[in-house]
Amino acid sequence: MRSTPKGEGAGLWTALAAPGSAALTLFFIIPLLLVGVFSFGVINSLGQPIIGHTLDNYRAVFQSYNLSPLLRTMLFTAVSTVVCLVLGYPVAYLAVRYARRAGPLILALVILPWLVDYLVRIYAWQSLLAPAGLLPTALAHLGITAPQIVNTSWAVICGLVYGYLPLMILPIYAAVSELPAEVIDAGKDLYGSAPAVFWRVTFPLTRDGVLGGCLLVALPMLGDFATAQFLGGPNSTMIGNMINNQFTDAGSQTVGAALVVALIALLVLTLAVAMLLARRRVRLLAVMAKAGKPEPVAEPTEMAAAL
């Protein structure tokens, strides 16, 4: 990274960054710290959290009834992330490599639904999948009995995929955009089959985008509760629903705060794993750079060996 010489607008940039930093501190860091503090607190007769030093809230977090929703959340997240990747990668690849001028249009179409509120979109899914909804009704006209979809775990996974798919497509689109076409052509020139070129050349070189997309998709999914609330059944409760319940219905915000801290810990852990994976990638790039290969592009000889 290039270091900025002293006096080269550093003061100006610091001043410009100050309001944003202050807002971040005031509205993000301090509230987050408060959540941490109140996770050790108690509730008064009005349901208000009061500072305390009890571990009871964390004992409540680690009860078996929270474990099932947590494991279910991780499973839903893992499955939905993989589905997002499988669906999103080809779209991003197509948009960059083959759509030419239609590429930005495809991107716009991907982003367009995001202009509509998430809840409205989930409600639309509910109307679509419900027994008297559009899909079962249309199938019934064709003489087909639609299976029960809404109120199942599948409906939640469908909702999660639909809700977060653009977050997978965008970073992959950026990664594929930076991939020189010559590298793929070189792979083909070296008699690599299409799958071999993809797995040995294209995918590894767009892995950062894939990793970024997976993170962008998985992290908010871990905290999602609206999808399960509207599309899920009694056995699709996610950890976000348990937290939401503590804040909105159960009147025990300190337990809710402890659940939030536990969820943040899980997110940090996920992020740490992702960073470890990314570090391996960075190390690889560093080795390549040291060898006088500044671009993360495999040499034809290496590629030939790989193919």
């Binding site: 009005l46 419900a130 027994p131 409760t237 939401n244 319940n245 804040f247 909105t248 915000q253």
Partner: protein, 372 residues
């Protein structure tokens, strides 16, 4: 946790999504603050008189705009409305010391609000239309017993709604458990005080029980019901309209809203289970931090006027515990007489009380066991 008012349940459920954020905001904004209420609030007895513009903290769609417009015109004051989506959020904001004049409170929480000095007392004799309140609500066990802090406004207890021909009923809460043919199409409310309370009543226990054995047994029963459930939801109009539910634990007012939406589609009926009901109602109160408490009390009096009671019941679809309100509700539900709560059920209904302390912990743990 207590029954919220709803004129459009879908919209309410929609809003519920943001309730987490709202509650979290309230949590961050007010946590640790003392109520800071003057203990002498009870000594300064209010009279209904216009003393400035007011803010009414309530549910959205709780009052006919015509009534507000007429009140503003008559008394030359402005009524600003602030909204909440759940009772817990209301309690948190009121407790934080925000200046609300008139507040739609809830019977389950009134004792706590009064005990913490968050509501202003008033002389019931000074309110012209207090005699409009029907005797059952005039008892007011949730107030200090003499209606000095609140007036009832809006109620509709829960029973069981079901589709004839798809579910069989015997007039008992156990009907939810005894309909294997409706497996996957049975719903219970997603509010712990209602659903856990219902299961406790079925076990002949108090819906406010704090006994671990009773609450555990009630949740064990609910867990037996879980495999038959299609969902745990309070969005009654949606689940009835979309065909997701054949049988559901539901508030009469929500069922009325759903039936309007269904317009005769499917053959729905409703039963008031013989084991009894848990009762909660919305109440109107003047906040301790009110800037114009006289106007707030004046609006309370205005809402209790027979004509306004009638108009508002027709507008919301919920009875409001006044004579004219009851009459309007009967008029409204003429096509659905099964939604009228028989006096026998009303008189034996048990008032819900919001859990606190060890009962709160117990209920939380047990409810989490059910929904988790």
């Amino acid at each position: 946790m207590a029954e919220p008012f709803r004129t459009d349940i879908s919209r309410r459920s929609f809003l519920k999504y943001s309730a987490g954020t709202t509650a979290a905001g309230a949590f961050l904004g007010i946590a640790g603050c003392s109520s800071g209420t003057p203990s002498s609030s009870g000594s300064n007895v209010l009279k209904p008189r216009p003393d400035g513009d007011i803010t009414w903290f309530s549910y959205q769609g709780y009052v006919s705009p015509k009534i507000i417009a007429a009140f503003e015109k008559t008394y030359k004051v402005k009524v600003n409305q602030a909204f909440y989506t759940n009772v817990e959020g209301m309690v948190q904001k009121v407790a934080s010391g925000i200046s609300y004049d008139l507040i739609t409170t809830n019977s389950a929480y009134d004792k706590q609000l009064i005990a913490n000095g968050l509501l202003r007392s008033f002389d019931p004799a000074s309110i012209k239309n207090f005699d409009q309140i029907i005797p059952y609500f005039a008892k007011a066990p949730y107030d200090d017993g003499r209606l000095r802090y609140t007036t009832p406004y809006g109620y509709g207890p829960a029973g069981i709604a079901y589709q004839k021909g798809k579910a069989t009923v015997t007039g008992s809460w156990s009907d939810l458990w005894n309909n294997p043919g409706a497996k996957g199409k049975i719903y219970v409310l997603d509010q712990q005080d209602e659903t856990l309370g219902m299961s406790l009543i079925l076990d002949h226990a108090s819906p406010n029980s704090g006994q671990a054995a009773q609450v555990t047994a009630a949740v064990n029963n609910l867990l037996k019901l879980k495999p038959s459930l299609g969902g745990i939801s309070s969005d009654i109009p949606t689940i009835m309209d979309t065909g997701e539910a054949w049988m559901t634990h539901a508030w009469a007012g929500s069922v009325y809203q759903a039936l309007l939406k269904l317009n005769g589609k499917n053959d729905w009926d409703f039963e008031w289970p013989k084991e009894g009901l848990s009762m909660g109602c919305d109440t109107l109160s003047v906040g301790t931090h009110a800037k114009s408490p006289g106007t707030a009390l004046l609006l309370m009096q205005y809402l209790l006027e027979p004509e306004n009671s009638h108009t508002n019941t027709l507008y919301t679809g919920y009875s409001n515990g006044t004579q004219q309100g009851e009459a309007a509700y009967r008029e409204l539900t003429k096509a659905y007489p099964f939604l009228i709560l028989p006096d026998s059920n009303l008189n034996t209904a048990q008032w819900r009380q919001a859990p606190t302390g060890t009962r709160l912990t117990l209920w939380n743990q047990q409810w989490s066991r059910f929904i988790g």
